[in-house]
């Protein structure tokens, strides 16, 4: 095991403790639905089984995404991936009743939630759970999502973080029992926070955007960043950047923790794990999903193309107004992107299906190896101070973290980088965050 003798940033001291969270997606192509052991991602039993396992493994947090509109594909709800989920906070309030220590994190959008109502719901969850709630703050601006909400597509892309910052500020005023008089560009809100403080004071704030605006927003307001940078190099670079921004915002270098998203593919030996990840990609991505993936970027019907053949030789249809999958899809860049994909697939000799499978889990957060190999890898990341934890998306529901809890956690404990017990009943304690003033 190699270890960088120099800290990533002179002001930052690694904690040396890895915290794990489980990001129960239950949707999208990361989750395998075609196996006999694939459970129902909406059923109460699936949630209760996985959160109980996570708590047995001393996970710090159980993390839920938010759905604001069903993903669509060329104007029709996407049929080839898992879809559908319960309201995050309603579910977490119920899960609070069958758990004692694990944190309960709800992803909630600042654009399509009324801030005072959202703050009250989060504070209710925090009180119900005895101080275990957190809010993962996300933003969006697309009008397509807005079609389900009163204000529609009211927010410009450029304004989304200004708006998010106001929403977090309003929420914190609610939590602190203050009087709120917010006059913003988009609405005016008057209210008074009337609920008491919870055992952890108020909900922990996570943040998940990594644009420059998103990073500055996190540096000013967040306790934890849920980043996409799980590989060593990019994790180090992100830490360095975030520490700079945090110091510039006048906060302590340790004030913001980093928990990248992660996918873990584990086995007894490295060779078995390599074999397993190849098999996993075939289970995540079938021929229909491969074509669906390409069609989302090509913006046109590609059903005439053979999934076992080369990438389509036609150009994408550029539909600037046709955002049908939610945030993040920039059709104006489609030509550039699809050209790059065609070049990459041709160079590597990949078919449509093989290319789509190679894209799955390729965003740096996948750790593949024996339990010992991955334990070493993660121990190094945390000793370096590149990360404070990982937010693991299980690729199987509900059994997808069993091997992590049974085989990886004990090895992390052996290496002295994982807690041997919960630090206390609140999330703030279990993340090692300083108590609120």
């Amino acid at each position: 095991m190699t270890s960088d003798p120099h800290p990533i940033h002179p002001s930052h001291t690694p904690t040396g403790v890895l915290r794990l969270g489980v990001f129960f997606q239950g949707v999208n192509s990361s989750t395998v639905w075609r196996l006999p052991e694939s459970g129902d991602q909406v059923a109460w039993d699936s949630f209760s089984r996985i959160i109980t396992t996570a708590q047995r493994g001393l996970f710090s947090a159980f993390f839920l995404g938010e759905g604001l509109r069903l993903r669509e594909h060329r104007g029709v709800p996407l049929e080839s991936d898992v879809a559908g989920r319960p309201d995050a906070q309603t579910l977490l309030a119920a899960l609070a009743g069958i758990t004692e220590n694990i944190g309960l994190v709800a992803t909630q959008n600042t654009t399509y939630n009324d801030p005072v109502d959202l703050a009250r719901r989060l504070q209710s969850l925090d009180l119900i759970s005895g101080g275990r709630a957190a809010w993962n703050v996300v933003t969006t601006d697309n009008a397509w999502t807005g079609e389900n909400f009163r204000r529609g597509g009211y927010l410009d892309h450029a304004d989304r973080y200004t708006h998010a910052e106001a929403a977090v500020e309003i929420a914190r005023q609610v939590w602190r029992g203050e009087e709120i008089e917010h006059v913003g560009a988009h609405y005016t809100v008057r209210a008074t926070g009337r609920l008491p403080r919870s055992p952890q004071g108020e909900p922990v704030v996570f943040q998940a955007g990594v644009s420059p605006e998103g990073r500055d927003f996190a540096a000013r307001t967040a306790d934890v960043v849920f980043s996409p940078f799980g590989d060593r190099e990019r994790a180090i670079e992100f830490r360095r950047d975030l520490v700079e921004r945090t110091l510039a915002a006048g906060r302590d270098a340790q004030a913001v923790q980093i928990m990248p998203g992660a996918e873990l593919v584990l086995a007894e030996t490295d060779a078995e794990a390599e074999e397993k990840v190849r098999w996993l990609r075939t289970q995540q991505i079938g021929p229909r999903q491969a074509l669906d993936l390409l069609e989302q970027y090509w913006g046109r019907d590609l059903s005439a193309f053979d999934p076992d053949g080369p990438l389509p030789d036609v150009d994408p249809e550029v539909v600037v107004s046709g955002v049908t999958r939610g945030a993040g899809f920039q059709f104006e860049k489609a030509k550039e992107l699809t050209d790059a994909w065609r070049a990459e697939a041709a160079a590597k000799g990949l078919s449509i299906l093989e290319f789509a499978r190679s894209r799955q889990g390729s965003r740096g957060g996948t750790h593949v190896g024996s339990y010992d190999t991955v334990a070493d890898e993660l121990a190094e990341l945390v000793r370096l101070g590149a990360v404070d934890g990982l937010n693991i998306t299980p690729w199987l529901v509900p059994g997808g973290i069993d091997d992590i809890v049974d085989h990886l956690v004990p090895r992390l404990q052996d290496r002295g980088v994982y807690p041997s017990a919960y630090a206390g009943p609140t999330l703030r304690e279990n993340l090692g965050l300083p108590p609120l003033a």
Binding site: G75, V76, P77, V82, R85, L91, A93, V116, I128, R150
Partner: protein
């Protein structure tokens, strides 16, 4: 004298205010509510009184209860209809079909100002509530029960032809749909209106849209079983002939949270006697849905061709 309960005998429910102190021992509260042999609990929570959000407080009781219905008395006005609908569906999912909605219509200055809108009154308020109730039902019915097909051969997880858009467009909002949450165990969450809310909620909802009314019965916190029986009896007998029989009896009793075990004993005796008299519906067995307590059928989703979610493909 034992009388068979009529199929329309109301469900006996206790109103519990979602005071933050309530969460200190939710397990004990759940046990007491079930020991009280109730048909349901109504969770009320007023932001202005510093109470928890009622849907979350009701959800928190779900794993601590197994038979009683969990009704949230929650606002239909100063809300996002899409969120409200999926929150109530989710309450139904986590309670395995025991959710209900007692419609509240907050329309005062404080509630409206908290979401940056103007307070509504009169016909505007009535129209808004009706629109939100209708829209919630459209959201609840936007996935057929068999929409998830898991067809490995074709690579299809979900069949879009078994989903439909909501396509609601009202005076103050629109909702496109479909729901983000698949259809819930009861299909449609029962919608009821309490006496306390009837005027604010409005005639259209009370008469035409709700699944029934809840009769409010005030109970003294020290009332013994016979006093509780007498109060319920008087309230039910006092009903006017020209209005439909109530489907829920909502006991308003301030003392329960302070002494759940003691009050549960008295309530259980009263509940047994009311059942012997045929005045309230039978005690639910574990897993009974609220719809079945209310003798409401569970309707299938009927896909409207004009709103079918795969229409873009077939057009």
């Amino acid at each position: 004298m034992t009388v068979d309960p009529t199929p329309t005998a109301p469900v006996l429910a206790l109103d519990v205010r979602a005071d933050p102190g309530l969460v200190a021992d939710l397990a004990a509260l759940g046990r007491a509510l079930e020991a009280a042999r109730l048909g349901g609990v109504v969770v009320s929570g007023d932001a202005e009184r510093g109470e928890l959000h009622p849907v979350l407080a009701a959800a928190a009781l779900a794993p601590h209860t197994h038979a009683i219905a969990l009704l949230a008395r929650t606002d239909a006005v100063d809300v996002e209809p899409f969120h409200l609908a999926t929150q109530l569906m989710s309450l139904d999912h986590v309670s395995l079909g025991r959710a209900g909605w007692l419609v509240e219509a907050r329309s005062d200055e404080a509630a409206a100002a908290a979401v940056g809108r103007e307070a509504l009154s009169g016909a505007d308020l009535e129209r808004e509530v009706a629109d939100v109730v209708r829209t919630a039902r459209l959201v609840w019915d936007s996935w057929a029960d068999d929409a998830v097909v898991r067809d490995v051969e074709r690579g299809v997880y979900m069949d879009a032809s078994r989903l439909q858009y909501v396509d609601a467009s009202t005076a103050t909002f629109s909702v496109r749909g479909p729901s983000i949450t698949p259809r819930s165990p009861q299909g449609l969450v029962p919608v009821l209106v309490a006496d306390e809310d009837a005027a604010a909620v409005g005639g259209t909802t009370v008469r035409d849209l709700a699944d029934g009314r809840a009769r409010d019965v005030e109970i003294d916190p020290t009332a013994d079983a016979s006093a509780i029986v007498a109060a319920v009896r008087a309230a039910l007998e006092g009903a006017r002939d020209d209005e439909p029989a109530p489907r829920l009896v909502r006991l308003l009793e301030a003392g329960f949270a302070a002494d759940p075990e003691g009050r549960a004993l008295e309530l259980a005796r009263a509940a047994d006697e009311l059942r012997d008299l045929g005045l309230v519906a039978p005690a639910p067995a574990p897993g009974t849905t609220l719809r079945s307590q209310l003798s409401l059928a569970r309707p299938d989703v009927v896909i409207d061709p004009a709103r079918r979610a795969d229409r873009a493909r077939t057009a």
